[in-house]
């Protein structure tokens, strides 16, 4: 039961985060509910994969991004928005923020401890570790979401055809 609540709240907060970060980029108002649904689905899927199945963060992000990308093919036609309008905001909550932060932090600490070989190299190692994770996750997010575009090229490229919103 508590696991269920965890998954639900994970999806809920991811949805709020996606709508918020998305609003910086001026999406059409009609897209907001679908951005929220996609973000919640994707993030909750990643949460489940990581906690229940023990999948690593990189592969889990790839799967979640694929779910978001496929969902945006379906919803995109509905609200006549190009897929990117829906999936880019939905991907934003999965950007690996803490890893990126730790990369910067270790870099700074490496400079501070540059004269001490043991401590300095420890921080350097940490920086490479965190940097590798954050870059891979970011790359997988983009790749996972674009795969549906390649699979369904015709449909993916005619999302806005016959839009009744202009």
């Amino acid at each position: 039961m508590s696991l269920f609540i965890d998954i639900l709240s994970d999806g809920l907060f991811a949805a709020v985060a996606a709508m918020g970060f998305g609003s910086i980029s001026d999406p059409p108002l009609r897209a907001f509910p679908y951005i929220a649904i996609l973000a919640a689905l994707g993030h909750a899927a990643r949460f489940c994969l990581m906690t229940l199945c023990g999948v690593d963060i990189v592969s889990a992000s790839l799967v979640a991004a694929f779910i978001i990308g496929s969902g945006s093919v379906y919803f995109g036609k509905k609200v006549a928005c190009p897929m990117t309008v829906l999936y880019i905001p939905a991907l934003l909550p999965m950007v690996p923020g803490t890893y990126a932060y730790k990369t910067v932090f270790s870099l700074i600490m490496f400079f501070q401890e540059i004269s001490s070989p043991t401590k300095g190299s420890g921080y350097l190692q940490e920086m490479i570790f965190n940097g590798a994770v954050s870059f891979s996750v970011l790359f997988m997010l983009a790749v996972g979401a674009t795969v549906p575009v390649f699979l369904l090229r015709e449909r993916a490229n005619s999302m806005t055809r016959g839009s009744r919103f202009i």
């Binding site: 907060f13 190009p82 309008v85 880019i88 055809r161």
Partner: protein
């Protein structure tokens, strides 16, 4: 000269079409639409107006050649890409416009009128964005495992940072400086949570700058690369990377100031 028929255009008409398509694609590129979509849409509008369009894009300018289908008139133009804020609304609407032009056989004047009405739609309310972004960052803090107090601190720290960003952007300050200053302000405010003695203060500090991460150019760059527009994809990535470096600089200032508290 070929024989004049109804279908033939004059040089002036080709020039007008070129002018419009140049404006159309510069607006789309300026608003952060990925390249293959812009090229596809421009060609589609060209198709509707009876011309062939070829486009070459780079980061700050685009070149296009418009050639009359089956005729001899052609026109080439280099346009500057204006730096608009990213707009998904334009992305959706202008794409829909290209399909409407294609399917409904609109004339150039009709397309142009529609275009003008679409790009002058009202933008986002800045206060709305301010609250949404602060909420988003607070939820983000929760996703990373922050507790209630860390969420509250992240909320107000983000509000300060984002308000600074909006204000400086309105004052037309260089955007690298905007990013450094807002990252610094937000992270220094979040770092005050260290003094509260909560366990998750570092999460608040880490999350407080994430509203600045240029997620859209990053993903657009990768999409461009996978679509084969490798040059512009790389330039977008480099651009986004520069902004990330700016965030890192702003946050490093904070970290250096408070680092004794973090160890």
């Amino acid at each position: 000269m070929n024989t004049m028929t109804d279908a033939d255009m004059t040089g002036g008409q080709v020039r007008e079409i070129t002018d419009f398509i140049a404006k159309y694609l510069s607006y789309m590129l300026g608003a952060g639409v990925h390249t293959s979509r812009v090229v596809r849409n421009s060609k589609r509008i060209g198709e509707a107006l009876g011309v062939d369009v070829s486009v070459h894009t780079s980061q700050k300018t685009a070149t296009l050649t418009v050639k009359e289908k089956g005729g001899t008139h052609m026109d080439t133009m280099v346009v500057d890409i204006p730096a608009f804020p990213i707009s998904f609304e334009w992305n959706a609407d202008l794409s829909a416009l290209s399909w409407a032009a294609h399917d409904k056989a609109m004339t150039l004047d009709e397309i142009r009128a529609k275009f003008d009405s679409l790009v002058s739609k009202p933008g986002m309310n800045p206060v709305f964005v301010l609250f949404m972004v602060s909420l988003a960052n607070a939820s983000f803090c929760r996703l990373f495992g922050g507790d209630m107090l860390a969420m509250l601190v992240t909320f107000t720290a983000t509000m300060i940072g984002f308000f600074t960003r909006q204000h400086l952007t309105k004052k037309k300050v260089n955007h690298y400086i905007v990013f450094i200053v807002s990252a610094f302000v937000a992270s220094i405010c979040a770092s005050s949570s260290l003094a509260l003695g909560i366990d998750t203060a570092e999460i608040a500090l880490a999350t407080s700058v994430l509203y600045l991460v240029p997620g859209v150019p990053l993903i657009n760059g990768l999409i461009d690369i996978t679509d084969g527009h490798i040059q512009i994809g790389i330039s977008r990535l480099v651009n986004a990377f520069m902004l990330i470096v700016c965030i890192a600089i702003g946050m490093s200032l904070t970290l250096i100031l408070v680092k004794d508290s973090l160890l």
